[in-house]
Symmetry: C2
Subunit: 84 residues, 2 copies
DNA sequence: TAGGTGTTTAGACAAATGTCTAAATAATAT
DNA sequence: ATATTATTTAGACATTTGTCTAAACACCTA
């Protein structure tokens, strides 16, 4: 839960999630959408992976990142606890 | 949205929200539930207020904090965008 | 085996964060 | 008035965070 909120507490990381909502993308493709350096984006992806918000799959030299919804459900559950 | 995620990115602040879920409480009552100093809790309450997650109401020397659900709905909306 | 491309790791650094103590403010009670 | 209680403000300080550049690693191609 800590890693989840930590990962979500950054606008760039949230934008990455919204980007991946459309389709999986490679690290490079993701980086191209932002003005930060590739190492910076790589670090953001690492935090998203630590929170289990994305999964990564290496195919050759490319690493493809995919959105992982299951952990969002955990957040949803936490949130719904307040709606009652 | 930034202030919201920032406010949620701390276990103490999330615990405060869960505490206020039961009923409104004064700053002192809230502080009594934690081992941190009162100024520290006061600061946490300030961040929660900035995110509009709680509202505060001063009556005499006591300040009562109340959970505000409307902004949680905003988060819920953001979350549901991924569920489709 | 080289050289090129995609990605991550390492290390540095300024800015933000969470905590504390001491002091200030505000309301109440004697 | 003075002291007591409730809360916040101010300032300090160590830790964490987001960013960068330079270098390393991994894979591919000729």
């Amino acid at each position: 839960m800590n890693a989840l909120f930590k990962a979500l507490n950054d606008p760039t990381r949230r934008a990455i999630l919204e980007l991946l909502r459309e389709q999986p993308r490679t690290a490079g493709e993701i980086a191209d959408h932002f003005q930060f350096s590739k190492p910076t984006i790589s670090h953001h992806l690492d935090l998203l992976r630590q929170a289990d918000l994305v999964s990564s799959d290496k195919q050759g030299q490319f690493v493809t990142y995919t959105l992982n919804m299951t952990v969002m459900d955990e957040l949803l559950g936490w949130l719904l606890q307040f709606k009652s």
